[in-house]
Amino acid sequence: MASTRSRESLVVPAIKRMVDDWASDQQTFKQVPWGKAMMWVFLLSDIFIFACFLIGYMTARMSSAESWPNASEVFALHVGGENVPLLLIAIMTFILISSSGTMALAVKYGYERDRLMTGGLLVLTALLGVLFVGLQAFEWTKLIEEGVRPWGNPWGAPQFGAAFFLITGFHGTHVSFGVLFLIIMAIKVLRGSLDHERAGFLTGRRGRYEMVETLGLYWHFVDLVWVFIFAFFYLW
């Protein structure tokens, strides 16, 4: 009985508070900075875009009468005289997860007003992001040299190339823009713009450490999308 009581005391007030939030005037997302709320709305739209790509890929793959190329072999790397399946993709996955970890810590130290740790971790996150995009460029080059095109490939269903270039290309673009924003934010943090609430050069918004969290949401989302691409495109 005790567990039911404690669950009720957690869930029921949360639902009541949500009804209050949505029924209130002026502001629904209370105690959420507007930048963060808007980032969530943007990410929601991005979820739909990536989901449509992945569902399109699923449809092409399921309706194809030809066999789908085996990703395990296509993305194998030749190391020390033998083929290791999916090695490059595994390395890229670990790099992106590492960058997500450093980003989470950057947000944490940001709220502790630790300027050097936040800036340093942002720079480290950006470097890992660059490394990821670099490996992706290497992967694209390798596949193009092996004859993969959006309209065909040597191993099977011709839709493979189209799905691969669209999905990984769109994700890589997200990572690249993320790196750009990370560098800008690292500069802002390191020169003390957030500590002194200095107005931004483009938008004129006053600097706040919440901005690091908002940027963090974007970066974690990029990692989140990769989790799905890794499972559905490379492992399935």
Binding site: R17, F29, F94, I97, Y111
Partner: protein, 105 residues
């Protein structure tokens, strides 16, 4: 205004989640490496994927500490995507059958 100071959580929470994400990635890589096939492979991949996604959203993106109003905005609308996926599964089955019927030699 102390409450407006944003999200502050102990370092150990982040490090544990980070470690778990690594372990789950290794496990899902091993599903491929060991060479499991069919439903076993798909179930394991999906399970590890959902666990990783849940950890990232809950802890790294701070969703467990947010109010229900913002959590529901993020998690409820993507539910229709599952419905969309179901529709497209039916559609692609039909396309495949039609192709096998009419275009095979």
């Amino acid at each position: 205004m102390a409450h407006h100071d944003g999200q502050q959580h102990p370092l150990s929470v982040y490090l544990w989640v980070w470690l778990l994400l690594f372990v789950l990635s290794v496990l899902s890589y091993f599903v491929d490496y060991v060479g499991f096939e069919g439903y076993l492979k798909w179930t394991l991949i999906t399970a590890f994927m959902l666990m990783k996604a849940g950890l990232i959203m809950a802890v790294f993106m701070h969703l467990v500490w947010e109010r229900l109003a913002i959590i529901s905005v993020v998690l409820v609308p993507p539910g229709v995507l599952l419905f969309f996926m179901g529709l497209m599964i039916l559609e692609s089955r039909y396309t495949l059958l039609a192709r096998l019927n009419f275009f095979s030699q």
